[in-house]
Symmetry: C2
Subunit: 456 residues, 2 copies
């Protein structure tokens, strides 16, 4: 067989030891937080039936699904006519499974299939990779992890509170200080559409004003005109676009501005309740920012809308979510409402790297490398190793009889902070020589003393 130079499929990545240590640092903080708040873990298979996946993400989404070729003679039902009919029309003959595109549709499928076993309100979290046949570019991969938490089976705004609290806890633990959780409510957007005279048109309104940050008010106005909005309606939006102040001031303004819209008033009341719950919990509003133009362009939100932005970094938006009315309707089970959000781990990783916020000792896997000079050292070293591990100290013995310099280089490359050197003197006196590679300090100790020292 010809020798090949192996490569990775484009848009995919390996995660080596350093990246894994850092990723696990993020995952662990998120998982601990989800558990502290009573969420339970779910995992679903990478493959789903195409009937489960298609039609859920729009035409574009369907195209971005990775499809699995049927096993065996996958061409057996394909005819020359099919070749003319084309790839889309013939798909069902060659593929019946695809890779999951997000964690929401598999979650909905799970709830429907296990509707009688699930305990409601069902607080589930799920941390798994998803796959999209997107054009790869900086920060966009074909395989990436999603970290979702959702509560289904309740309309309680306490769930919205919990989401705010979990985001705050995760960011606090990660050492991120300069960010804001933007919060809005779909009902407020519906109310806006009503009071500017375009009731029911909040979807179009959302799509346009969602771009406010990127393209500015002038261009948004042009887009709204292009979408058939009247100048009169657009002008009425002015005060909203210019809205300044703290959450209370903005809520007070909107109370008046939306007073003629029943749904708008309801949206403001919901937002007010969330802020009240936050106060009851004893958590202040720091980091939480009512943003009346936040829309996230996602048409299935029916209540709260969240988005977390980190300030002063290249990629800002690292988390988002919202409330939905009907998670499982598409699978024939109505009435399952809920609220959820997702942490973008790849983006959080990039942000922590950009801000140099990863702990410096994060990589430390092995704490002690046991080194030696001869066969006698191996045998004594193995006993030392046994004692270290018995005490829970991550430790290794260099496996080959090698020059001490080579053994130290290994410790250095693996960022192992302590090295035990076993010379004949140490062995004779039943001691070990422990060297701290950061400080250079070295001392002869009993194994027990050495363990105490490295565990400090």
């Amino acid at each position: 067989m010809a020798i090949q130079k192996p490569s990775l499929p484009k848009g995919t990545r390996d995660f080596g030891p350093l990246q894994m240590a850092r990723r696990n640092y993020i995952f662990d903080i998120i998982k601990d937080t989800f558990k502290l708040f009573g969420f339970q873990q779910l995992e679903t298979p990478a493959m789903e039936n195409l009937s489960t996946l298609t039609g859920k993400y729009g035409d574009e989404g369907d195209q971005l699904l990775f499809k699995i070729l049927n096993s065996g003679d996958y061409l057996k039902d394909v005819t020359s006519k099919d070749l003319e009919a084309g790839s889309v029309a013939t798909l069902s003959k060659v593929s019946e499974k695809g890779l999951r595109y997000d964690l929401t549709v598999p979650f909905a499928r799970y709830v429907v299939m296990n509707r009688n076993e699930v305990t409601y309100p069902f607080k589930r979290f799920q941390i798994q990779p998803v796959w999209r046949a997107d054009r790869p570019q900086r920060g966009r991969y074909r395989e990436f992890y999603q970290c979702d938490a959702d509560v289904v089976g309740t309309d309680s705004l306490i769930c919205e509170l919990e989401i705010l609290l979990m985001i705050k806890r995760v960011f606090s633990k990660l050492g991120l200080r300069d960010y804001s959780i933007k919060l809005n409510n779909r009902k407020v957007l519906a109310g806006l559409a009503e009071v500017i005279g375009v009731p029911g048109k909040e979807s179009e309104l959302c799509v346009a004003i969602d771009k406010l940050d990127k393209i500015g008010w002038v261009k948004v106005q042009e887009e709204l005109l292009g979408r058939g909005f009247e100048n009169e309606a657009i002008e009425k939006l002015g005060p909203i676009i210019d809205l300044k102040g703290n959450n209370k001031e903005k809520l007070n303004f909107l109370k008046v501005f939306l007073s003629s819209s029943e749904i708008g008033v309801k949206g403001i009341e919901e937002l007010q309740s969330v802020f009240d719950l936050l106060a009851s919990y004893g958590s202040d509003e720091t980091y939480v920012d009512f943003d009346v133009v936040l829309a996230r362009g996602l048409s299935y939100y029916t209540g709260a809308i969240f988005e977390v932005k980190v300030n002063n970094v290249t990629i800002g938006s690292v988390s988002g979510g919202g409330r939905y009315d009907n998670l499982t309707g598409v699978f024939g089970l109505d009435g399952v409402s809920g609220v959820g959000f997702s942490f973008g781990v790849d983006r959080i990783y990039d942000v922590l790297e950009e801000l140099d916020l990863f702990p410096k000792d994060q990589l430390v896997g092995t704490k002690v490398l046991v080194t030696y000079f001869d066969e006698e050292g191996v045998s004594y070293g193995l006993k030392t190793l046994a004692a270290l591990r018995e005490a829970g100290v991550e430790s290794e013995l260099f496996p080959d009889l090698a020059k001490i310099k080579k053994q130290f280089t290994y410790a250095d490359k693996k960022q192992i902070p302590f090295v035990i050197v076993l010379g004949s003197e140490e062995i004779k006196n039943d001691l070990v020589s422990l060297k701290n590679l950061k400080t250079g300090e070295q001392s002869s100790l009993t194994v027990k003393e050495a363990i105490e020292l490295v565990k400090l």
Copy 2:
């Protein structure tokens, strides 16, 4: 859109909260052990180029690979002629990626692509799902996790020692007592082939005697005859098949039996060294069983061969591995030898379930549910919740104002061990009523006292 009844692709599974808690229990013990021994984590993408995967697992393996349909117009290069040529011949036109089939080939690819960055000896572990288009049956799935640990870049038998120690630690932590780690060496099998007069035929010999457990010696003899072995050679195997005794006795017998075979003697020496290292470490031979007919049918092992069997359960073999000479040769990098093994998590799960060895409180995610009767209770409950979580106690507030019975049912279903009840008396006196759902005990306490009690 027509309502669909969703289903799972055959051979795949969801893991709900109970299963996830139990799986994580196993994963955590394995991960902790790998880290304690200085192994570092690697993750590779689910998708690999087909050029990386094909030709590595034999013809059968190639057929069992899940292939990904090319994105976009996947039929564009397929002609009527291709339809006649068939599925196998046309594969390269419709698919260039597949799902990983194991963790070894991706590991080899990683080492080759990162040969200059890797620190040797490279001790890596990898815990990820793999996919095989096998016919699903009891205990065999199309998606399942592998837990691999390998050391590459050294021939030191200390690595074999480490594998034995890691297996012993994992099984001890899991509470498994009745198992044996079967240990053999490919060189011993090569020696056997030499001394019975069929040098170089150890592969065929292995395939046949690998079945000894399943089909018995008589059938194995028939198979050997069928494979062209002479009666004389087969008869010489007799003493080996009947071999009894402890490790030392078996090694002593083989030293003599294989004395005319250089490679056989080398194999026995290696095994002897591993037992000596085990003694130096201070770990006895309990659970380690030299099994001269262990072959695992895998032709790429060149030294040690491991297999772990749990006794008195339906599915016995839960872990296996061995030493190999040339991990990365197929990708053009020679000389990377190593030794590795794999825990079968799905099988360990089944074994623990069969033996009822999962900890009884494993599922406990949430420790305290805060319940209440009215709006006043919500506000007081939120403060209580904040205090519990600040102290690291996993806790929830029932999100809806519901009958207390409903709230208790929720606690019961989620196996939450403590419930805090907030009546008007408690609220007035700044106390909480804490109920232990197992013992039925209930007492009025300050939040601080309650926290201390549930943290016991």
